[in-house]
Symmetry: C2
Subunit: 148 residues, 2 copies
């Protein structure tokens, strides 16, 4: 594969990613959740199962723990999360989603589904699945870092 082809592929991927982020964000806002930023969505995916510590979040988001702590402050202030004492470590605090946080997570899923479904105009259902399957194979396991 030539450099120019690789660049075209990269540009397309980044453009699609940017558009997808925008659509999910718009969809979440349209469902009544104001004051949320795309970065919060990535925090939600880490908090969703059983909560996480601030340090966990920091690693997951690829930022300092101070920044992650500020982000949690913001989520708490807006009612999407709350800090609880950690059951096994008195130093740590477990950050968990509130009911409002779960509702926002579900809204994000709906918005994502809506955005993906919009691609159905250009791609068959089977192609879409193939796309997702390929992306999952090359997706990294490390921290989710801002794209640019």
């Amino acid at each position: 594969m030539q450099n120019s082809e690789a660049m075209a592929l990269s540009a397309a991927l980044l453009a699609v990613a940017g558009e997808l982020t925008r659509r999910i964000h718009d969809g979440v806002v349209a469902r009544g959740f104001e004051g949320v930023r795309p970065a919060h969505g990535f925090a939600f995916t880490r908090l969703a199962p059983d909560g996480a510590t601030v340090t966990d979040l920091a690693v997951h988001l690829g930022m300092t723990k101070q920044a992650a702590s500020q982000l949690v402050d913001e989520l708490v202030r807006k009612g999407y999360a709350e800090r609880r004492p950690h059951p096994e470590d008195a130093r740590a605090r477990l950050v968990v989603l509130t009911e409002s946080g779960w509702a926002c997570t579900r809204a994000a899923e709906e918005a994502a589904a809506e955005a993906v479904r919009a691609w159905g105009a250009d791609l068959e259902e089977a192609e879409l699945r193939a796309l997702g399957e390929k992306l999952l194979r090359i997706a990294p396991n490390g921290p989710i870092r801002p794209a640019w």
Copy 2:
């Protein structure tokens, strides 16, 4: 397609995009171009053919023209671009890449090719082409906006 599937697809796409951005950036830095940010790369793709005005850039990057102007200041200061009088409009100024800017663009292409080639470990060449082709079909034409 269920919401959870769409969310998984979205998450994978965004994770791959983030990783790709990081790899291109690292590759460019490794080739000796310091002080460049991913946002500059998107500016380069707009400046590359024949240059562009600050307002063009602003639309392309989805930011205000003041911000675009600051970004151009930075590129000029670092020797990647220069401002010239616009041949057809005395109000406007044409921003064009310097030789150093072109070299950086080529470095970015090499880095992108390297990053894409790394996916070859998980994907056949034909699958890779199919991936690129699908992405091109659903890629938007509008401004390139930061993903999160």
